[in-house]
C-alpha cells in the first residue's frame, strides 16, 4: 500500500480511464506539468500511468492520478505542506528545463499551456 492511501486526500474523479483522468487534470488545474511514468511523489508513490503523466496544480494543492488494478484510475488532490513541496519541486524542474533549452539556443517550451495533443507533446 502506498503512503497516498494513508494521507488526507480528496477524490476528484472516480474509477475512470487513465485518458479521462489526464483530461480532467488538464482542464481543472491552474498549471499542468508533465512527468514520465514512475515519477515519485510524496516520498514513496511512483505514479503509474500512460505517458505523458499530467500533474496539476491548483493553489497549494497537487492534483494527480492514482491507478488501482481492479478499480481503474482516480484523480486525487492533496493540499498540505507536502503538496507545496511537490509543487515547488515541479516548478524547479520546469525552470531547469527552460534553462537547459535556452543554453542550447532553443526557444523554451512551457508546459503550463499545452498546445496540440498530449502524444505530440510527449514525442517532442
Amino acid at each position: 500500500m502506498s503512503c497516498i492511501e494513508q494521507m488526507k486526500y480528496e477524490i476528484l474523479l472516480n474509477k475512470t480511464t487513465y485518458k479521462d483522468a489526464r483530461e480532467y487534470i488538464k482542464e481543472n488545474s491552474d498549471e499542468v506539468y508533465y512527468v514520465p511514468p514512475g515519477y515519485k511523489i510524496f516520498n514513496d508513490y511512483h505514479i503509474i500511468g500512460v505517458p505523458p503523466i499530467a500533474l496539476g496544480v491548483k493553489g497549494s494543492a497537487l492534483i494527480f492520478t492514482y491507478t488501482k488494478p481492479c478499480y481503474g484510475s482516480f484523480v486525487l488532490t492533496i493540499d498540505n505542506e507536502d503538496s507545496i513541496k511537490e509543487i515547488d519541486r515541479l516548478r524547479e524542474k520546469e525552470k531547469e528545463k527552460v534553462t537547459a533549452s535556452l543554453k542550447k539556443g532553443k526557444p523554451p517550451e512551457s508546459s503550463k499551456k499545452p498546445s496540440g495533443s498530449f502524444l505530440d507533446m510527449w514525442k517532442k
Binding site: I48, V50, G72
Partner: protein, 152 residues
C-alpha cells in the same frame, strides 16, 4: 533465449482465464529454460498460490507494485514481459512497464471488451488478443504460437 528473465504481470483477477493462463504460461516458459517471475495484485497472487500450493507451476510469485518500484529504481529488470489486461487499469500498468523497462513487451488482452481495449494500447508491443473470459483455449493457442516464435 534460455535463461532470459521473463515477467508475467497479472492485473485484477476478476476475469477467470487470467489465473489459468498465468499458470500455463509460467510453466511452459520455465520448461523451456526461461527464468520466470509472476507478479500480481494481492488477490491475483492469492488465487495463484492456492491453485499452485506446492509452487509447481510458479516458482517466483511477487507483488506487482513492489516489482514495478524495483524496476523504476533500477534495482531489477527483465528481458521479456507478458502483461495481462482486461481493463484500462491493466493497460495503464503495462504502459508504465513499457516506459520504465527495457523488456520486450507482449500485451495479453482478454475479456469481453478485448478488441476495444487492444485499440487503446499505444506503446510498442506485440498484442495477443482473445475475447474469452471463461474459456482460455483461444488465448492458449495464440500464446503457444507467440512462445514458439520467441524460442525460434
Amino acid at each position: 533465449m534460455t535463461g532470459a528473465k521473463v515477467l508475467l504481470m497479472m492485473g485484477c483477477p476478476e476475469v477467470p482465464i487470467q489465473t489459468s493462463i498465468a499458470l500455463y504460461l509460467s510453466h511452459k516458459l520455465a520448461s523451456l529454460g526461461f527464468d520466470v517471475t509472476v507478479a500480481g495484485t494481492g488477490a491475483a497472487t492469492k488465487l495463484l498460490r492456492v491453485s499452485d500450493s506446492d509452487s509447481y507451476y510458479v516458482k517466483k510469485l511477487v507483488n506487482l507494485d513492489k516489482t514495478l518500484e524495483a524496476i523504476i529504481e533500477d534495482r531489477e529488470d527483465f528481458d521479456i514481459c507478458f502483461a495481462f489486461m482486461h481493463n484500462d487499469a491493466g493497460m495503464t500498468y503495462a504502459a508504465t512497464m513499457s516506459s520504465v523497462s527495457k523488456a520486450r513487451m507482449y500485451s495479453i488482452v482478454f475479456g469481453r471488451n478485448a478488441e476495444d481495449l487492444a485499440e487503446t494500447v499505444e506503446f510498442d508491443c506485440e498484442k495477443i488478443v482473445a475475447k474469452g473470459a471463461h474459456n482460455p483455449a483461444q488465448l492458449k493457442n495464440k500464446l503457444d504460437k507467440v512462445v514458439e516464435g520467441i524460442v525460434k
